[in-house]
């Protein structure tokens, strides 16, 4: 255990996954070395095996996974052949884990501080009073509100971002040599994420802990890691230190990951004065039941062939606005007009022609397509319903639509959705919307559930279709890079109100509303110094949710 020996040394690791009777190779001949105090970023799309590799560094495999080859050495201890007792002594004490969902990883039946003090007590690191005092100290360092009493609450009484920081503190409780961070900010809003990122970075630096940071977000890994390793379906693709990786990636796959964020369609010029907008919202206020309004006095127009991006965090009212437009939620006041004709508020009162003009593409492809229907039926039904085509004519039209979304009709027309990938299912959703030959399509977070490469493909397809068919899009999203890619105009919503609205280029250059400013600045960029610069600019107190609550 000399100072030059790496802390973690994984050599030629092979892990299989066993489900019923089939075996799949999850990790294929991957090696990893990590020194003390070093942070390694593990990047890859979903299914690349990052989580499995991170857990393997702790000597842990989930149910259904089996190590079939290779070596895992932690500080000279062989984790593959170690007895369960030896491994148990390491876990929590010298190696800690921070999971993706803090809400699910805290036991709802016990207070937060009791779960924090558990590991030090059971491993004999400190007494209960010492552990509790240390917990409060850590909460303070992580800038949690009310550090003295927040630990004495139950997990469901604390918000998501704060809970994630509390979990980081819990991982620190025994001052481990290594922490595995498994996608800790993936499920959080952008303004919450930035607070957690700052907290993690500070604590890792303060205690000189080694860390493996797992994520699929490249900009985030740029801030947090010293070295980056790229994984693709269980294979190692590339490894380099962060700056080299960002500036000069070697492999094609790595380069393609980097390229996603650069797709950008030039903004279209503003619509001519007096042009009739395709969709017009006028002073729409809506609520669910008799509760407080979720959408307040919202007005904006969407013109032909244009894309309006509606941006906001969860709870801002973006999806509710979409439901008002489609007629699922009749507004309390205000109206929605299609080409200057007011639409009936309730979809049941609209004519088939009116229903046809407004189509929607959903976020989760798994629930957006009927799993029991073949692709041909899914696309064919609107063709039959709206255009009245049947038989051979219908089939021809379905084939045309499949070609439009760049999928081979012969191969896909008889498949079931379960046989398609996420990106392919999303394309089918687009084809289904197009089948009605509408003028307006609402894209509700259509790329949020997709990997970056696949998302780029969808955005390019949507752009091409817009050009060819003069479609208007309302793009609901929380991801600003998507906005930058294909939007013409941007509407920023917060708590049901429109905070700012205007052409895209104007939105991305200051001056803006303080909230827009915060939103834009909280999105990580592909520059390793971005977080440092931001901290220098605003100070740690003025970031993220803390800053939002001050507005």
């Amino acid at each position: 255990m000399s100072a030059t020996e790496p802390l973690v040394k994984i050599s030629n690791l092979e892990i299989d996954g066993i489900a019923d009777e089939t075996r799949t190779r999850i990790i294929n001949n991957v090696s990893l070395e990590l020194n003390r105090g070093e942070v390694m970023g593990l990047i890859g799309e979903s299914g690349a095996g990052k989580s499995t590799l991170g857990l393997a560094a702790m000597g842990f495999t989930r149910d259904g996974c089996e190590i079939v080859g290779g070596n895992i050495m932690f500080d000279g201890i062989d984790l593959v052949t170690a007895t369960p007792d030896v491994k148990r002594q390491l876990l929590g004490k010298r190696i800690a884990y921070v999971a993706q969902s803090a809400a699910a990883s805290f036991n709802p039946a016990h207070k937060i501080i009791n779960q924090h003090a558990e590991a030090p007590l059971c491993h004999g690191v400190s007494s209960r009073t010492e552990a509790e005092a240390d917990a409060i100290d850590l909460y303070e360092r992580l800038r949690l509100p009310n550090p003295d009493e927040i630990g004495f609450r139950y997990p469901h009484q604390v918000s998501g971002g704060q809970l994630q920081r509390a979990m980081t503190a819990m991982a620190m409780s025994c001052r481990p040599d290594l922490i595995i961070f498994d996608e800790p900010t993936t499920a959080l809003d952008v303004t919450t994420q930035i607070e957690v990122l700052v907290a993690i970075r500070e604590i890792v630096e303060q205690f000189q802990t080694a860390a493996i940071y797992i994520t699929h977000d490249l900009a985030v890994v740029a801030q947090m890691a010293d070295r980056v390793k790229v994984l693709l379906r269980g294979d190692e693709v590339e490894e380099a230190d962060t700056r080299t990786m960002l500036d000069a990636p070697r492999e094609d796959y790595t380069k393609s990951l980097w390229a996603v964020r650069s797709f950008q369609r030039p903004q279209k010029p503003l619509a001519k004065k007096g042009a009739v907008p395709v969709i017009s919202l006028r002073n729409v206020t809506a609520a669910y039941g008799s509760n407080d309004p979720v959408v307040r006095d919202v007005s904006f127009d969407i013109h032909e062939g244009r894309t309006v991006a509606v941006v906001g965090e969860s709870g801002s009212g973006k999806s509710t606005t979409a439901r008002c437009i489609t007629g699922l939620l009749p507004p309390m006041t205000g109206e929605i007009a299609f080409q200057n004709q007011v639409l009936p508020a309730d979809y049941r009162k609209r004519s088939v022609h009116q229903l046809r003009q407004v189509q929607m593409i959903y976020q989760m492809a798994d629930t957006a397509l009927n799993p029991r229907k073949r692709i041909g039926e899914i696309i064919g039904r609107p063709v039959e319903f709206y255009l009245g085509l049947k038989g051979a004519e219908k089939r021809r039209r379905v084939e045309e639509l499949l070609e439009l979304i760049e999928m081979d009709p012969k191969e896909y027309i008889n498949r079931l959705p379960s046989e398609l990938s996420g990106g392919q299912k999303q394309r089918i959703g687009i084809a289904r919307a197009l089948a009605a030959e509408p003028k307006f399509i609402i894209c509700d977070e259509v790329t949020s559930a997709l990997d970056q490469l696949v998302a780029e493909g969808i955005l390019k397809l949507l752009t091409r279709l817009q050009e060819e068919m003069k479609l208007s899009y309302m793009l609901i999203t929380h991801d600003l890079s998507t906005v930058r890619a294909i939007a013409d105009e941007v509407v920023v919503m917060k708590d049901g109100l429109i905070v700012e609205a205007g052409p895209k280029d104007e939105m991305f250059t200051p001056p803006h509303h303080a909230y827009t400013d915060l939103l834009l600045s909280s999105v990580p960029e592909m520059n390793p110094d971005w977080l440092d610069e931001l901290l220098a600019q605003r100070g740690a107190e003025n970031l993220g949710d803390a800053a939002v609550s001050k507005m």
Binding site: M58, F60, S105, F106, H110, Y154
Partner: protein, 332 residues
């Protein structure tokens, strides 16, 4: 705590309302019976005067809603009316001098005590046994133990109670006389005697109820063990004992209590067949006998007792689930 108190009182209120509605259903169902009771009861000796006299005495001449409320008020004072079977109608035919109406409550009370005794003995064996096997099966799932437990409980819940009853009688009463095959207990027996006579019916019920409880417990615990916070506890290097006792058990209380209460509620229906097979003097046997001879007040009362027990147990399960859920107990 205010929040919880409100939810619980709402549930209690709902329970009371349900009981009320159930009493209406029972009463109306029974009063859909055809013809004139008095006539049927007297049979041959039915003179118009005797019929009218009986109808008046039994209150059958009042309008239906009056009868219902009279009955309901009586029920709340634990007066279930008079049993037709015990009533001595001969007086109306003019053969004896005094009128003797046996009250339903007198019939039911001792039987109810017996059924409770049977249920208690069953629960005392079944609950710990099924919890133990269920937890073990969940911990060692897919092992041979689990598979054997799975198949045997599946066989047990698939068998009608009378099958299990007769198999047990064959093995434990006829071939190897360990227990008596008739369980005719009565007051005046000491506890040990009562217990011996009650064992076979209790064992029969145990076999069926344990199977249900064990399967539900196993499913609940497996579900629990898959939670992310259990994985987190393992990743903190805690001993398996601590993980089970401190992390799994507190969250398992709610589903397990739910399982127990639901199965005790299920026990109520099982009691009927078992009491008939073993001739055990409980409410179930009384119910079946009264149904056969159409003793209306007894049928009504038995139904009410069963329904009340069933509803109370379901209510208990509900309330316990609420109390053991920390998210509901302690609001944000």
């Amino acid at each position: 705590m205010n929040n919880v108190a409100m939810i619980i009182s709402k549930r209690l209120g709902l329970g009371v309302l349900t009981m009320f509605m159930v009493s209406i259903i029972i009463f109306s169902a029974v009063n859909m019976l055809p013809g004139d009771f008095a006539q049927a009861l007297l049979g041959q000796s039915a003179t118009p005067e005797a019929v009218a006299a009986i109808r008046k005495d039994l209150g059958l001449d009042k309008p239906i809603h009056t009868r219902y409320f009279d009955w309901l008020i009586g029920v709340m004072q634990f007066d279930f009316g008079t049993s037709f079977a015990k009533a001595n109608f001969a007086t109306y035919a003019g053969t004896t001098a005094d009128v003797n109406f046996g009250s339903v409550a007198d019939q039911i009370a001792p039987r109810f005590a017996n059924t409770l005794f049977l249920a208690a003995v069953t629960a005392a064996i079944a609950v710990p046994l099924s919890l133990l096997i269920g937890v073990l099966a969940a911990l060692y799932r897919y092992s041979i133990f689990d598979r054997i437990a799975n198949i045997s409980t599946l066989t047990s819940i698939s068998s009608p109670e009378f099958f299990v009853a007769y198999v047990l009688i064959l093995l434990l009463a006829v071939l190897n006389p360990v227990f008596p095959s008739l369980s005719n207990i009565h007051d005046g027996m000491d506890f040990a005697q009562k217990l011996q006579k009650t064992m076979l019916p209790a064992l029969t019920l145990t076999l069926v109820v344990t199977a249900h409880m064990m399967r539900m417990t196993r499913a609940a615990i497996i579900n629990l063990l898959a939670s992310p916070y259990i994985e987190m506890a393992r990743l903190k290097g805690l001993s398996p004992f601590r993980i089970i006792v401190f992390h799994a058990l507190p969250n398992a209380l709610a589903p397990i209590i739910n399982v127990i209460a639901l199965n005790l509620a299920y026990l109520i229906t099982g009691v009927v067949v078992v009491e008939v097979v073993f001739v055990y003097p409980g409410v179930g046997q009384l119910f079946v006998d009264s149904v056969k001879i159409r003793d209306i007040p007894v049928v009504q009362a038995c139904c009410l007792v069963f329904a009340a027990a069933y509803i109370s147990l379901n209510l208990l399960a509900d309330v316990m689930s609420i109390l053991s859920n920390p998210r509901l107990r302690l609001p944000k």
